[in-house]
């Protein structure tokens, strides 16, 4: 950081943003200097991405202001942010893989000749000029989709660097990177970090949204930590160490002990599973051996005892949902053994898993869970309808409705009638509906993926009770959750995943947010550091 570094280029004042029930940003203020790489860190859902998007005008904040070089940006206006020199590079940004690199870069303003036809030559020249300052190897006449993820990312950065003078705006001054390395290989990450540094040296402000420790220490000047949508601290990277940063991300030490107390409290009522030594003698509820899937999972093995709730911690992309999919037989490419109460599931298919007693509540209840054109009743009986049916597959409607009535009652799904459509239910009741689907005597193993996402607090505690009750009845529960307090509260034991493998197991006293986060970020941090 040199002379220009003293000037705050971007100032964020009292910004708040709410999505439904989630307060993504809560009165956040921060400032970012010209010529620095400034990391925005936090856990999943801490609000770091949201802040980046608010600054770039992709999200419109509910309250608060963003200033760039003293000018107040119009909230939620990408154009205004762009005119002031704010650019964003993120994964979901619209790119057309079927068009060439040059076409992608010039999409907003294709150069034409005097007949109104596209002037390919000048288009390619303009694109090469942009791209080659970052990566001379890229051929701009190739389809974007044919490039490696790293090069595609570089093309995005090149697009962000373009100076579209015609709008009366200025050239790029602030670039927001939103988790830029999540799909890159280690070599590509290092190249990207070099580019990021070079941008800062040109005097640009780089906002670097990431949860990867290694990258932060490798290339950032300062770091701002957010937690639960609130500003925690801004520090110079040179002045801070990893444990302190982790502590900032997860909150006070006090918070960690409270959560542990909670989990132990709930753990005491389940003494049986806390003696894993006799698991060898008794048949375990769920045993997974060498579960692997190309590009997703690398030989994962673990056991869950009947009545035990095992949590799976880890960051987004660590392979947690992929593991549940594989256990349920949904991943056609997976290999490995899944045993339910000592008996191996004969084939990798969901129907075989269900027959063996596995139930699965997937992460996205709208896309993966519910049938919105069928009634609540059929949504509940869907997986067991064939088992209830008489020979020839003719439905036993009285048995079905008895089961549905009982489930709706015992799980308090608030519905007008069993025939009403799931779309008429609140999010919490939809989630209870999905849980109710699997709460039969047949279910011996329950796979839960983010069971309380986007649900109000009251329903949350109901769902916690449902999960605990199921465990008390001897069901082995495998729980994926990105919400630390939930994971700590419900789990008897926690497995932490990172890059498709289990990076550690935590029991009793060890179960703290700090430990989970350390195990969850360990691998990527180590890998990046080793490669630098």
């Amino acid at each position: 950081m040199d002379a220009i570094a003293n000037k705050s280029l971007v100032v964020v004042e009292n910004v708040s943003k709410r999505f439904g029930v989630t307060q993504a940003l809560d009165d956040v203020s921060a400032s970012f200097l010209a010529g620095e790489v400034h990391a925005l860190m936090g856990e999943n859902g801490a609000g770091k991405s949201t802040l980046g998007k608010v600054i770039a005008g992709l999200h419109r904040q509910d309250r608060g202001t963003v200033f760039v070089d003293g000018h107040e940006l119009r909230p939620g206006s990408i154009d205004d942010a762009y005119a002031r020199g704010v650019r964003i590079v993120h994964q979901e940004l619209a790119q057309c893989p079927n068009l060439t690199v040059a076409e992608n870069l010039c999409l907003h303003d294709m150069p034409t000749n005097r007949f109104g036809l596209i002037d390919r030559r000048s288009m390619n020249e303009r694109a090469s000029e942009l791209v080659h300052q970052l990566e001379p190897g890229i051929d701009v006449t190739r389809p974007l989709g044919a490039l490696s993820p790293g090069w595609r990312q570089i093309c995005q950065i090149a697009a962000a660097l373009e100076d579209r003078g015609e709008n009366g705006g200025c050239g790029p001054r602030v670039i927001v990177f939103d988790e830029p390395t999540s799909s890159l290989s280690i070599a590509e990450v290092n190249r990207l970090l070099e580019i990021v540094r070079s941008l800062a040296e040109r005097g640009l402000t780089v906002l670097y949204v990431s949860h990867r420790m290694g990258e932060i220490f490798a290339c950032c000047d300062r770091v701002t930590v957010l937690r639960d949508g609130r500003f925690v601290a801004t520090s110079r990277v040179a002045d801070i160490d990893e444990p302190t940063l982790v502590e900032q991300m997860i909150g006070r030490r006090v918070a960690a002990t409270t959560a542990k107390g909670l989990s132990r409290q709930s753990g005491t009522s389940h003494l049986a599973p806390s003696e894993p030594s006799d698991g060898a003698k008794r048949a375990s509820g769920l045993r997974v051996e060498s579960m692997a899937s190309p590009g997703k999972l690398a030989s994962v093995s673990f056991e869950v005892a009947p009545g035990e709730v095992v949590g799976i911690g880890g960051l987004v992309g660590a392979g947690r949902s992929e593991l549940l999919d594989a256990v349920f037989g949904l991943d056609g490419a997976s290999s490995g053994i899944v045993e339910i109460e000592g008996k191996a599931i004969p084939s990798h298919s969901p129907s075989a898993a269900i027959r063996a007693g596995v139930g699965y509540v997937p992460e996205d209840r709208k896309q993966q869970g519910l049938f919105f054109q069928l009634g609540i009743d059929e949504n509940i009986v869907a997986p067991v309808m064939s088992m209830l049916a008489s020979t020839g597959g003719i439905r036993r409607r009285s048995d079905e409705s008895r089961l549905v009535d009982e489930r709706i009652r015992s799980f308090q799904v608030k519905a007008a009638s069993p025939a009403s459509l799931p779309g008429s239910l609140s999010g919490g009741n939809q989630q209870k509906l999905l849980l109710a689907r699997w709460m039969g005597k047949r279910t011996r193993v329950l796979l839960l993926d983010e069971p309380t996402r986007g649900i109000d607090v009251g329903t949350k505690s109901e769902i916690y009770k449902i999960v605990r009750d199921a465990a008390d009845k001897g069901v082995a529960v495998l729980l994926v959750s990105s919400e630390m307090p939930e994971l700590l509260h419900l789990s008897d034991r926690i497995l932490v995943m990172c890059d498709g493998r289990i990076s550690g197991e935590l029991r009793g006293e060890q179960m703290t947010q700090a430990n989970i986060l350390r195990l969850a970020t360990m691998e990527s941090a180590a890998a990046t550091a080793a490669d630098c």
């Binding site: 969901p350 896309q367 519910l370 919105f372 054109q373 059929e378 597959g393 439905r395 459509l421």
Partner: protein, 339 residues
């Protein structure tokens, strides 16, 4: 049920408007007279006359039977463009088999042979469609666009463009064209049986409900442990079998199979299913609606003849009816059940 209600209203509407003019011109009675062979009676000339109704139903029955299968495919969020070709193929091979029999072969032999061969060919062709759609993971539109041409090509190769006839008397006069009290009820009865059977399977059996589940949300269906691929193949196979049944009805009724039979039927059948409330996005559709949709199409045909409108307008009215039916259905759609 909502769909059926709409269809009933549509039927009354179409029927009503066409009834009045039919009663007026005396020419119609004169036309009818030689056919029935009865002396002219005063009250014959209504639209709701049994002769005319059965004729409409018979004409609709081929499309209706196929539309029941098509509805299941559409409810599955699939499509089958090849059914016109399957229809011709099944009829042709059925005709080959029937031609081999003695002209005097009894019904008890001729009918099972005809049905078995036609439905078997249809089921096989449908199975091939389904297996390719599932196995190759190609969109059903593409697969069946291909098999539409392939099956039709096979028909031309096998028949060399000739009409195949010379069946046992029993299958035509003795069954499909059997005359009872001056009307020929068999095709219509088969339509009713298929319709009721289709309704039962779609609403009262596991496989039927799985069709709606997959069509509504295929990802969720996988997560609920529904064997998606198997259900799809089965549905295409059953739909093909129903096409085979329609083909047998056609060959049996007319006593012949031509190589261009069923050309363009895919669109009429899809139209019937859609008029009957099936949603091309999947998850919705009913067997009753499909059959009623086929009847509506035939009523439009019939009505145009009765009204003595130039046949050229037929297609325009039909096309408009499809669009209107879908618009009305969309407007009236509330959270309701598939039945």
């Amino acid at each position: 049920m909502l769909v059926i209600a709409i269809m009933a209203i549509a039927l009354t509407f179409f029927g009503g408007t066409k009834m009045v003019p039919r009663m007026d011109p005396a020419t119609n009675t004169v036309m009818r007279d030689p056919e029935s062979g009865q002396p002219v009676r005063v009250e014959v000339n209504r639209f709701l006359d049994s002769q005319n109704l059965i004729q409409v139903a018979n004409n609709a029955s081929y499309i209706a039977v196929m539309a029941v299968g098509m509805t299941a495919i559409i409810a599955l969020a699939g499509i089958d463009l090849s059914i016109g070709s399957i229809y011709a193929l099944a009829a042709l091979i059925g005709a080959f088999a029937l031609r081999e029999l003695e002209r005097t072969t009894g019904l008890m032999v001729a009918l099972p042979v005809g049905l078995l061969v036609c439905m078997g060919v249809g089921a096989l062709a449908g199975f091939v469609n389904g297996a390719m759609i599932v196995g190759l993971r190609v969109h059903p539109f593409i697969i069946t666009l291909g098999t539409m041409a392939i099956y039709r090509g096979v028909v031309f190769v096998l028949s060399r463009g000739q009409t195949v006839s010379g069946f046992p008397e029993s299958i035509q006069r003795g069954f499909f064209k059997l005359s009872v009290g001056g009307v020929q009820p068999v095709p219509s009865l088969l339509m009713v049986v298929t319709m009721v059977g289709g309704w039962f399977v779609m609403s009262r059996t596991v496989i039927g409900r799985r069709v709606y589940a997959i069509g509504g949300n295929e990802v969720a269906a996988r997560y609920a442990g529904i064997p998606v691929g198997r259900v799809k193949i089965l549905v295409y196979t059953i739909a093909g079998m129903l096409v085979g049944l329609a083909a047998c009805m056609y060959a049996g009724y007319f006593g012949a199979a031509t190589s261009d039979a069923g050309a363009g039927y895919e669109l009429r059948v899809i139209a019937a299913a859609v008029i009957g409330g099936a949603s091309l996005a999947g998850g919705r559709g009913s067997a009753l609606g499909a059959a009623l949709g086929a009847i509506v199409i035939e009523l439009i045909n019939n009505g145009m003849i009765i009204l003595q409108v130039d046949q050229s307008y037929n297609q325009i009215v039909m096309g408009a009816a499809i669009v209107v039916a879908v618009l009305v259905d969309q407007a009236k759609r509330r959270p309701g059940r598939n039945h």
